[in-house]
Symmetry: C2
Subunit: 407 residues, 2 copies
């Protein structure tokens, strides 16, 4: 049986960045660029005013309160019709091109108007003041963003300014969620005897949305082979398939059999982990148009097992498909606020709260009272999971343990 790290290595070995695709600019926030982006023109395309005011020859502003004739008015979107004459200042708006012969702009707040003239409060103006020279931001042909860049808001603005309305990116992974189980009813229904509401679909949908995936919840598949196979066949058209239930050792757990019948190659089944041991992982056949085979996760049906399986494995796989670096789940650690008794031969992920500490380096972890893998309510009060390695041990207050954050 794999341990958590072996299982993660096996998952990541099969998770490659999705083939790059042209996506509309308004939908690429948070994605990874898959091409170099070059400027298609000089920016700014002309020397432009950075403030509202008067375009001048800096050398003409000498003495106290220098005064110039007001020439052309240059508004944004228009070009000057003639060079600046000697003894003249052009009224200019932010963003407008400065006229030939002008070399500086004086802010309107530092001037006052006197009929057809303008009087300047400051007489020492440096050439270039309040002017953005042509091509100062970028030159035509220059690469301004390189392949592999994470697209944040400023980079989207930059793409717009070089005229890219579509860019080549690693697209959002498409995730199908398939819940199984005859005992499940929709959240809108009142469960009858022996039934419970389906919380897994909502939970996994939210977890996958948080990772930037496009998510579709397929209808709950009852524990009948034909229905299950039909639903799973549809799910295998997605990049990632998340199935809950039907993977533990009970004799009616049909999911592994259905998946293997559909050509999904099993990579592992069961991990040394609590909760979440029955996790099943495999890879489907390559899809049309060179799309890689879907990554198929059979998560246990108990919701907390599903959360832990998602956080440890699915989250990293989605990051890799998106060409992002998977965040290591073992980076965070902190000190226990109280003793904890651990029993068992599997590492345990126990719902816990983080308590504020004055020193950010000293995170404090409070394990919560918890009724086990079906008890989602406790996880809803938690910030994540304290990690207790396998083996019986009585932990004391202030001992340092690892922590897997939830959101």
């Amino acid at each position: 049986m794999f341990d958590v790290k072996e299982a993660l290595v096996a998952v990541l070995a099969r998770a490659k960045p999705l083939p790059a695709r042209l996506v509309t600019l308004s939908d690429v926030l948070g994605l990874i660029l898959a091409e170099d982006i070059a400027a298609d023109m000089d920016l700014p395309p002309f020397a432009k005013a950075l403030v509202d005011g008067y375009a001048v020859r800096a050398s003409e502003l000498v003495g106290s309160s220098p005064k110039l004739a007001i020439g052309e008015e240059i508004v944004a979107g228009k070009t000057p019709t003639r060079p600046l004459a000697i003894g003249e200042a052009a009224s200019i708006m932010t963003g407008a091109p400065i006229p030939p012969e002008a070399d500086a702009v004086v802010m309107v707040e530092k001037t006052r108007r006197d009929g057809a003239f303008v009087i300047f409060e400051e007489s020492r103006v440096a050439p270039g003041q309040n002017v953005l020279p042509r091509a100062k931001e970028m030159k035509e042909g220059e690469v301004v963003l390189t392949s592999g860049t994470w697209l944040n808001s400023a980079r989207l603005g930059l793409l717009a300014s070089v005229g890219r309305c579509q860019v080549l990116v690693h697209p959002r992974p498409k995730v199908a969620i398939v819940t199984t189980g005859d005992e499940l009813v929709e959240p809108s229904e009142k469960p009858g005897p022996g039934q419970i509401r389906n919380s897994n679909a909502t939970l996994l949908h939210a977890l996958a949305i948080n990772e930037g995936a496009e998510v579709e919840v397929l209808p709950n598949a009852v524990d009948e082979m034909e229905i299950l196979r039909g639903t799973l066949a549809r799910a295998l058209e997605f990049d990632v398939v998340l199935i809950t239930g039907g993977v533990s050792a009970g004799n009616r757990d049909l999911v592994p059999a259905a998946l293997e019948a559909l050509g999904v190659e099993r990579v592992f089944h069961k991990i040394r982990l609590k909760p979440g041991k029955p996790l099943w992982f495999g890879v489907g056949a390559e899809r049309p148009a060179g799309c890689p085979g879907p990554l198929v996760f059979g998560l246990p049906g108990n919701p907390v097992s599903g959360v832990v399986g998602f956080l440890l494995f699915v989250r990293c796989a989605l990051a890799r498909l998106s060409a992002r670096e998977p965040q290591s789940a073992w980076m965070i650690s902190g000190r226990l606020t109280k003793p904890f008794r651990h029993r068992g031969d599997r590492p345990t992920y126990h719902p816990s709260r983080l308590l504020e500490a004055n020193d950010p380096a000293l995170i404090r972890i409070e394990p919560l009272e918890w009724a086990g893998s079906a008890d989602l309510r406790t996880v809803a009060r938690a910030d994540g999971f304290a990690i207790f390695p396998e083996g019986d041990r009585d932990y004391t207050t202030d001992e340092i343990v690892g922590f897997l954050p939830l959101d």
Copy 2:
């Protein structure tokens, strides 16, 4: 003229959480709950098996390799038809109700089958083992989530399990973006003489989406009073209006006049801040159905001024409308990696990169070479803005300055 803190106080004084509204469960991730949520039934509604295996009386498993007759098979979604007989074990699946008289479940992996009998590898089984008692997770009527809770994935799962398909939340703020300027062309067009592409719409759209807003970009409004008023009138139906351009001191800057004519009450215009000084802020009239008046931000047209204005003021306003606590922009500080010469009577927000440090308490800040408020390219290379207070000063390497993060 307000300084940054005075302006932020003025904005937050007018930003109240939006009135609570019923929203569908699949769309409330990241929002703040506006009601207490009670369980509508006991959960689990029956004592249930936590593993696949055999439901037993714990007291009957004594001696080495105890053996019991296999009774009823209880699958998930079905209820037991009779109590467990003496000397009997019921085959049971994870999630199924345990039969009356049974008090523990033994994992199938710790048993082996022998015809109509099952033989147990372990003979010391505690009552309650692998059983989740009825109502252990929650009791009918008990409050499981309180008003004011931030809805993460686990809490969405919990809402589904108590049957709440719609919940009362503070909804996502609706944001209208209005760009102004005769010089702007769409990113898909090639700018003619004196023109530049509109990058502000893309930039502000992404910034507002990052804060969880619903965003609509209205058509660019040219600098003509009638067109501008029409567009702004439509924008005032939203919770927040972001206008770029048209607010500096130039005589064709019509935005403040148009807003005031539309009944938007000006709160301030201009802030002691660089870049971003011309920022205009006001509040529109109350809207139908008790919706508060829209918050109207007139941001400067230079893209970097708009980014800084958004990060300092709009981001905090959107958080408050969503009933989230606005994050203070002054929390982060770090040491300069090189000297920096600051000149000017306004605090300056200078695009900078964060460099990794071994000690997370020692963030290192590298100010980037920057051509001013129209130079978005440099911001696209930055992680945020180093903050230099007003006044002329030559900063030295390792001096500590504040930092405003970008994303």
